[in-house]
Structures are given as structure tokens and as C-alpha cells.
């Protein structure tokens, strides 16, 4: 087993992915404070916007073969409420907190970044890849030039870690290069895949597909991108076992995020982290 330890972007090299563990409310039903620190190097919050968002109508989520499709619509309490009610609790975990930001315009992202100055937040993850909102989100991901501008502008006001979460569709390589050249510290590869299910033969649910089904696809992206960009890549897509994590490292990731697997069983990440530590003898 090769030793990847010196190459981790953070340690333990597991993060909780945005939108798959809420805002931390029930985390401690499954983890002791010590276990949180032993398992996760970073916690990425649900997507936060300037204004509160109520989210989409039901059905919002459905199962696909070995995957999930969701169209939550970035339901969140808005940045003010988030800071007031949730952030303090999250910072108490003593794990690096990254806030996943969602905006419709570049200015929204900048305003959001300003909100987190001096709050103790370690980093920002710019969500330019949500497939479930009318404006913003994935629309950015088709325009590498706009992404470049976005990262530059946020970089001006934000000195902490700055990650960009890519969409797995569109001109991914160009977007990754745009992030690299405009000052992003890492890219997260990737968000969900635009998908669709027909429920009960009638209702059409359009959303983003996540889970084991997409793992071979995102793994390939990480493999390709890691050969083309030099900033670290955080792998994210379908991770549900220690082998999955190792596969991402083999393909060039420097850390990973776990999403859907946390919904299946919150304690899976704990087991994965333990297994990895044993493998790495750390």
C-alpha cells in the first residue's frame, strides 16, 4: 500500500459533503465529539444563500439504480440565520468548517464571502454546480470565463481556503483550469449529474444523481483533471467504502467528500476512517 499521507489536503482526508448532513443538528446522535474529529478533516455545510430559500415542491428525492436523485432546490435558512443559529455549534466541533455558497450572480457570492470574514470559518466552497435551481448553479459551469471572474472576485475579499465545486457535466476541464488560474486553492470534483426519473409512470422528477452509480464516472473525471491541473482535487461521488476512497487517491485526489453514503448510514464514514487509518498505519 502506497503511503499517501504526505499528500493529503487535510487530515483525516474525509469531508462530509454539502447537503447530506443538514446543518449538523443530528450529527451527534451518531458521533461523539471525539469521533467527529477522528473521522472528518472538514465539514462542508449545506448550500447557503443570501436570502432564506424554502426549496422545491415534493417529490424532492427518489431512488435510482444504485443511486439517488434529488431536487432539494437549496433549501436553507439564509446566511444571517445560519450564522446566528447554526455556525457556533458547528465551530464547536473543532473540525474545519467550509461553507458551501450558492448565489445567482457573482455579486451574491462576494457578498456571502464577506459575511464569513472573521467568523472562524476555515474555507468556502463555491457551488457552481447545483442542477436544481433556475438561476446560478450549474449555469456557471458552462462558462469557464464567468467562473474565472467569479473566483477572482471572491478571492479579493476572502483570505481563507477557497474551493470551487465543479459540475461533472459541461466543459469541466476548462472550468477547472479557470479555477486554477484565478486563485482557487482546490477544486471539488464533483457535484451531482443531471438526471431524471419517471415516478409511477407519470410524474417527472428532474434532479441531480448521486451515489455509487456515478462513482466510475466521477472517478474518471478526477483521473483526467488531476493530469491537467496542479491545484489539489477533492474527489466526491459515490464513495461508500474504504476501497472507494483509495480508488480516488489512486486517481489523483488529495482528499474526498462523502455524501449519499452518509444518508444510507451515518456511521459508515466512521468505519471507513477507521479502516483507512489501519491501512495507513496512522
Amino acid at each position: 500500500m502506497k503511503d499517501y499521507s504526505r499528500n493529503f489536503l487535510f487530515y483525516p482526508p474525509l469531508a462530509l459533503a454539502s447537503g447530506t448532513w443538514g446543518l449538523g443538528e443530528n450529527l451527534f446522535k451518531y458521533y461523539s465529539p471525539a469521533e467527529v474529529k477522528e473521522t472528518f478533516g472538514v465539514l462542508v455545510t449545506k448550500g447557503i444563500s443570501l436570502k432564506p430559500r424554502i426549496g422545491n415542491l415534493p417529490p424532492r428525492i427518489w431512488e435510482t439504480p444504485c443511486g439517488l436523485i434529488n431536487s432539494i432546490g437549496l433549501a436553507n435558512p439564509g446566511v444571517k440565520e445560519f450564522k446566528k443559529i447554526f455556525l457556533t455549534g458547528l465551530l464547536k466541533t473543532e473540525v474545519k468548517i467550509f461553507v458551501n455558497l450558492y448565489g445567482e450572480e457573482i455579486e451574491d457570492f462576494v457578498a456571502l464571502a464577506e459575511e464569513f470574514k472573521g467568523t472562524g470559518v476555515s474555507g468556502l466552497e463555491l457551488n457552481i454546480s447545483c442542477p436544481n435551481v433556475k438561476k446560478g448553479g450549474i449555469a456557471f459551469a458552462s462558462q469557464p470565463e464567468v467562473v474565472k471572474e467569479l473566483v477572482k472576485e471572491v478571492r479579493k475579499v476572502w483570505e481563507g481556503s477557497l474551493w470551487v465545486k465543479l459540475s461533472p457535466v459541461g466543459p469541466v476541464l476548462d472550468v477547472a483550469k479557470a479555477c486554477e488560474s484565478s486563485g482557487a486553492d482546490a477544486i471539488v470534483c464533483a457535484n451531482t449529474y443531471p438526471g431524471l426519473v419517471v415516478i409511477e409512470g407519470e410524474k417527472v422528477l428532474k434532479g441531480g444523481v448521486s451515489g455509487p452509480a456515478i462513482k466510475p464516472l466521477t472517478l474518471r473525471l478526477v483521473y483526467e483533471l488531476s493530469r491537467e491541473v496542479s491545484i489539489p482535487i477533492v474527489g466526491c461521488g459515490g464513495i461508500a467504502s474504504a476501497k472507494d476512497v483509495l480508488d480516488y487517491f489512486v486517481c489523483g485526489a488529495k482528499a474526498v467528500e462523502i455524501g449519499t453514503a452518509f444518508l444510507i448510514d451515518p456511521e459508515l464514514a466512521k468505519k471507513i476512517a477507521k479502516e483507512l487509518k489501519e491501512k495507513w498505519d496512522m
Binding site: K29, I54, P58, I61, L68, N70, F262, L263, D265
Partner: protein, 256 residues
């Protein structure tokens, strides 16, 4: 999720099974009527997420669920044998509300959760319902009728085809009986069309109705925000966080 041993997996009615699990006393002590557990009985990502089932009954270190075979997940479940293991989540969701002067209404396996409620009611930790209306399409689908008969609460069986108990829909019987003696509240669990009909009846008769709802649950724990229930006030509730039992008057059944 923890692994627990199956002690029973018995067909109770066509397509309906009773599963007993040795979860330990520590576990059963934490359970309340109205809560559910998530179960996984397959070593595969298809189906992907554990399936939710209401706690049907609890005895010492044992927990029971009553379930209907619907799709892949429940097909896996019903093929399990005593002695084998399944994975179980902690108890989830909220307990049934403590109601006064109320009746129970169940359609089909919607009856499941009322077993535990009646057990607790007899033990005194829940108010005793005045009556339990239990309906199904046919008599043989009234799973666990025998078990429900063991409690001191009067049990009214209702079937669409009249093969057992009164003939008709549950709302037909309720309409008749509740007019005479109006209860303080109705706690109803069953298929959505039934819940809508009972809610409407409650509105007409001025009786507060509580409905136990279902949606697809990904996490059951408030993490994913997927299990959204539209409310009349325009907001959304999450079934796993605020439910699964809701005051019927708050639900926007049109958008559900």
C-alpha cells in the same frame, strides 16, 4: 446502523409479514409509539437506502415490525430467515401525540404502529383510545386482528367486501358512528386517499384529525431535506423531523 438478529419473520396475511428482532433492552427502552426504524437486509446498493417501518410492538428486548411487500426492499426482507441478521437504525421520528378522548383509524398495514400504542396505553404511559377502527379490502388482509383484539380497547373491523366485520369504507362507518358519539380526536394511519377522506370527515364533524404520513425517506434524520410535506401556510415540514404524525388541518393535501 447496527446488526441485530431476526427471531421471527412470519406471513400474517397475503403479502404481509411480521418480523421480530432481538434489539436488546437498551434499545427498546428508547422507543416510543409512532416512531419508526430503518432496516437493511441486503448486501447491495440496489436498493440503496434502508427502508422505514413503524414500530409495531415491543416486548422486553424484542422489537416487531408489521410490513407489506411492495418492492425490492421488502422482497429482500420477507425472504430472511430467523437467525439471520438485519441492520437497524436507532428509533427515528416523533412519538404519536398524547390525545384525549380519541379513536384510532387504520387502513391496511397502517395498523402497524397502533400495536405499540395500545401496549403503552395499557401500561398507562399513553391515554387509552376509545375505539380502534381497522379497515382493509378483505378480511384476510386485516393482519394481526387477533393481536389487536387482546387489548381492552374495542376493535371495529371493516372490510370493503364485507368478508369480515362491517362492510364498506372506513369513512362510511366513521360517519355513522361518530355522529352519535363525537370523540375528541382521531389518529389515522393508512393509504393517502383514506387519510384525505378521514381528514375531510373530521373537518365536517369538527373533530381534530392527526394523520400519519408516508414519503420516500432517504435519511430519516433531517439530513437530506428530501421528505418534504407541504403545509397550508405555504411552508414545508419534513416528515422525519416533524412527523410522521401531523395535524391534518395543517397539511396541504393538494400539493402532497
Amino acid at each position: 446502523m447496527q446488526k441485530v438478529k431476526i427471531i421471527l419473520n412470519k406471513k400474517e396475511a397475503p403479502g404481509i409479514f411480521l418480523m421480530g428482532l432481538d434489539v436488546g433492552k437498551e434499545y427498546t427502552k428508547k422507543c416510543s409509539p409512532g416512531q419508526f426504524v430503518r432496516l437493511k437486509a441486503w448486501d447491495s446498493f440496489d436498493p440503496l437506502v434502508p427502508r422505514p417501518f413503524t414500530i409495531h410492538a415491543v416486548k422486553d428486548e424484542r422489537l416487531y415490525i408489521l410490513y407489506q411487500v411492495r418492492g425490492k426492499g421488502t422482497r429482500f426482507l420477507c425472504r430472511m430467515e430467523p437467525g439471520e441478521e438485519v441492520e437497524i437504525s436507532p428509533p427515528m421520528g416523533n412519538a404519536f401525540p398524547q390525545l384525549k378522548d380519541y379513536v384510532l383509524c387504520a387502513g391496511g398495514v397502517g395498523s402497524a404502529g397502533f400495536g405499540f400504542l395500545l401496549q403503552e396505553a395499557e401500561r398507562g404511559s399513553y391515554p387509552l383510545p376509545k375505539k380502534f377502527y381497522y379497515a382493509a379490502r378483505t378480511g384476510e388482509l386485516l393482519a394481526r386482528a387477533q393481536f389487536f383484539q387482546n387489548f381492552s380497547v374495542p376493535l371495529a373491523l371493516i372490510t370493503e367486501d364485507g368478508s369480515l366485520g362491517k362492510k364498506g369504507l372506513i369513512t362510511d362507518v366513521l360517519k355513522e358512528e361518530l355522529k352519535e358519539e363525537r370523540p375528541g380526536a382521531i389518529l389515522a394511519c393508512g393509504p393517502l386517499p383514506m387519510l384525505k377522506a378521514v381528514a375531510k370527515l373530521g373537518e365536517e364533524l369538527g373533530i381534530k384529525v392527526h394523520v400519519v404520513l408516508e414519503t420516500f425517506l432517504a435519511c430519516g434524520e433531517g439530513f437530506c431535506m428530501g421528505c418534504v410535506i407541504p403545509l397550508k401556510n405555504g411552508k414545508y415540514a419534513y416528515l422525519c423531523k416533524t412527523g410522521p404524525t401531523f395535524p391534518a388541518e395543517e397539511i396541504d393535501f393538494e400539493r402532497l
